[in-house]
């Protein structure tokens, strides 16, 4: 009986506390926010896990975009309420939190994520709940039949990155190449792009090694690569894997005989590697802060970001900034905050100039068409944030396939990957 009383007591207390807090929560918005019309934008970023630095960059850039719009008086007179959550780079956590954002917090729009696979799951959720979703990361969302009219993607497609970088490499660096590829789908997609381009431009593919995620010792692979004598090594990996690979390659003196070209790299990787990221190491990005000397929009964006957070934005921050801005621009263009379908069609074909030159969101698949930047390290000459120089900017239209081809994953589906 006492046991029963004990449980009744605790159960009752929890209930009471719960009810009071619910009542308080319910009372708050009606009193404080009743006067102003609002829209809610919820975003997800991996603030813990392997890409925490990049996630933070996304979060900051989104915050900046929202603050800018709210300072202008919001969108169509509606103040933007921005909520963000940590998705921990885990699919199940991301879906739970996005459910909370949409079902509990009643977010009208969602965005974010830094993983291609999570963005696919988020996109599906967006389709089912008819909530516009702005994907910030590199993702295959628009490929195949995965996409519905409620999703839009703002980073380049994985194969676009390889097409851009390989175009430059085969023209300016050499023809013989060897690749190191992270052994998961994103790495494979990049490799497909490289192999296809190599066939088109007469490159000579000497071989590839698949490396599991989280590999720290690359020396055995390098012995094999040195023997093959390529003009350049292609790195289809990212983050800690890339850092370890480049560090060891430079220590072994590989860069004296050949170049290293990373299909995708990150400002934080270059910074971390310091002198090891030298003149013989190149990497691709969608945005590097030195574009500010080329574009006025980039300058405004970088200066503001630098002033607010003390470091220049990464490409992920830039993507977040553009995605948030475009969402608000689309709402403004559609002239409605409630008709989601109309907002999404306003986004289709939207032309704008924000952080780079003139760009647009492709009408057929809501993919942002943007240029890809290739940078070269400065090694020991790096100073502060001046850690790399821009070598080339490859225009967006030349590195994306038509919507019809994308829907069938052509021509990359025909590429035979090495074992």
């Amino acid at each position: 009986m006492q046991q029963l009383r004990f449980f009744c007591k605790t159960g009752f207390l929890t209930l009471l506390v719960g009810l009071i807090s619910v009542a308080l929560l319910a009372a708050l918005p009606t009193s404080a926010l009743a006067q102003q019309k609002t829209i809610k934008y919820g975003t997800m970023h991996p603030l813990t896990g392997a890409y925490a630095v990049l996630g933070l960059d996304q979060q900051r850039a989104t915050e900046m975009a929202v603050e800018e719009w709210n300072a202008k008086g919001g969108v169509l007179g509606h103040k933007i309420i921005w909520l963000h959550r940590d998705d921990e780079l885990k699919g199940n956590v991301a879906i739970r939190r996005v459910k909370e954002l949409v079902e509990e917090e009643k977010c009208d729009f969602i965005g974010g994520t830094l993983s291609g696979s999570i963005s696919l799951a988020m996109n599906e959720f967006a389709c089912k709940t008819k909530t516009p979703y702005m994907a910030y990361c590199m993702s295959d969302m628009v490929l195949g039949a995965d996409q519905c009219e409620y999703g839009a993607a703002f980073m380049v497609l994985p194969y676009s990155a390889s097409l851009a970088v390989s175009q430059y490499a085969f023209k300016n660096v050499g023809k013989k190449w060897y690749s190191i590829t992270a052994d998961y789908r994103w790495g494979h997609s990049l490799l497909e792009g490289w192999i296809w381009q190599s066939q088109q431009m007469g490159g000579q593919f000497l071989g590839n090694v698949y490396v599991p995620l989280g590999t720290t010792d690359f020396s055995t692979y390098f012995a094999k690569i040195m023997a093959a004598k390529p003009d350049f090594i292609v790195m289809n990996n990212l983050g800690a894997d890339q850092t370890a690979a480049i560090k060891q390659a430079v220590e072994l003196g590989l860069t004296k005989n050949m170049k290293i070209i990373c299909t995708k790299t990150a400002q934080s990787t270059i910074k971390e590697l310091g002198p090891a990221y030298n003149e013989n190491v190149m990497g691709g990005m969608t945005f590097y802060w030195k574009l500010s000397s080329k574009y006025k929009g980039a300058k405004t964006f970088v200066d503001k970001f630098m002033k607010k957070y003390g470091s220049p934005p990464e490409q992920d921050g830039e993507s977040a900034y553009v995605a948030s801005n475009l969402l608000f621009m689309a709402i403004e263009k559609a002239g409605t905050v409630t008709d989601k379908k109309k907002i999404m069609s306003a986004l289709e074909g939207l032309k704008y100039e924000l952080t780079k030159g003139p760009e647009y969101v492709r009408a057929c698949d809501r993919q942002r068409v943007q240029s890809y930047v290739l940078v070269k390290g400065k090694g020991a000459k790096a100073k502060g944030w001046d850690i790399a120089d821009i070598v080339a900017e490859i225009p967006g239209d030349s590195i994306i396939m038509s919507c019809e081809d994308n829907a069938k994953k052509l021509p990359f589906i025909n590429v035979k990957l090495p074992k």
Binding site: E104, S117, D146
Partner: protein, 328 residues
């Protein structure tokens, strides 16, 4: 591990099944859970509770540590997901497929491994779990979707309720949780349940009494897989998506952690462990990106204050208190 703290004070009812009022009371409290915390979180807590009830049956009541329970959970999730996606199965059919697949796997793994004891069984089960993970990742990615997870699962309805909506989904899962709480309670009261506990306390003595311990442990594993498969299938219904991480060993590790946190071998331990774990993780991360630091610290404190898990230590203290009162 056999608890030797009982030697100083005799605690006869420590591991006895709870009174019926606790089972029903818990269910009634669960009905109101969405009033206190967010519905998706509440749903997830219930799903993991079902998983935990089964895991606890094996670890807490039978004393077998499986470190590969993600295999049953994940297989249940994938089997249900595949049935929904490719066969257009209804919700009950999908769930049954998930359960059957998980139980079948347990039959196979159990037949191969249940004779090994302690850490050896833990290692073998971990190996099987990881095998399944890598199977889904690469060789079978044509049907499982590889690291993208299983997507394109259609919207699901049950008796004209849309399970895509948060509240119907919650109550659907809640009723199943209620049933599973009741079933667990009945199992613990049955002669079979008593046997499990006898084995945990002293397997040699049970053997000497003429019981086939291997067979009973095997059954316990298969029943535990039933719970895991059910939880996995419900997880698919809940997420409309199967992340590859459901098969990863971290899922098993999380389950072990939750069960120990709540108190292994106690009836409400899994529910409490799961609830505290997910609630802390979900809530603290709203305030700080350094939430892992705080959650970790809180877990350390909990384990220090409640060495037998939250429910375990509470029950012990309560029983000791009662003994003293009776003594007076």
């Amino acid at each position: 591990m056999v608890d030797d703290r009982t030697s100083t004070i005799k605690l006869p009812n420590l591991h006895s099944p709870p009174k019926p009022v606790i089972v029903y009371g818990t269910f009634i409290v669960l009905l109101f859970l969405p009033l206190i915390i967010s519905t998706p979180l509440a749903t997830e807590i219930l799903i993991w509770t079902i998983f935990g009830l089964g895991f606890n049956l094996l670890l807490g009541y039978t004393g077998v540590l499986s470190f590969g329970h993600a295999a049953y959970f994940g297989l249940g999730a994938y089997a249900a997901g595949l049935a929904f996606r490719y066969l257009d199965a209804s919700v009950p059919v999908g769930i049954i497929m998930g359960i059957l697949a998980a139980m079948l796997l347990a039959c196979i793994i159990g037949a191969l491994a249940i004779r090994s004891k302690g850490v050896y069984f833990a290692m073998i089960s971990l190996a099987f779990g990881q095998m399944l993970y890598f199977l889904a990742l690469s060789p079978l990615k044509g049907i499982t979707g590889g690291e993208d997870g299983l997507t394109r699962i259609p919207s699901l309805d049950f008796l004209s309720f849309s399970l895509g909506k948060p509240l119907p989904l919650y109550y659907f899962v809640c009723i199943i949780t209620g049933i599973m709480l009741f079933v667990t309670w009945r199992i613990l009261q049955s002669p079979f349940g008593k046997l499990l506990q006898a084995f945990r306390e002293n397997e040699e003595r049970a053997k000497a009494c003429g019981y086939n311990t291997t067979l009973v442990k095997y059954c316990s594993l298969v029943i535990s897989a039933f719970y895991a498969g059910l939880a996995g299938a419900l997880n698919t219904v809940y997420l409309s998506y199967v992340p590859l991480s459901t098969l990863f060993w971290l899922t098993s590790g999380t389950m072990v952690m939750m069960t120990i946190l709540g108190g292994k071998g106690t009836f409400l331990g899994p529910l409490l462990g799961v609830g505290v774990f997910l609630f802390l993780q979900n809530t603290i991360s709203l305030f700080t990106p350094r939430w892992e630091l705080f959650v970790g610290a809180i877990f350390v404190v909990i384990i220090l204050v409640f060495p037998g898990g939250i429910m375990g230590t509470l029950t012990e203290k309560f029983a000791a208190f009662r003994m003293r009162r009776q003594g007076e």
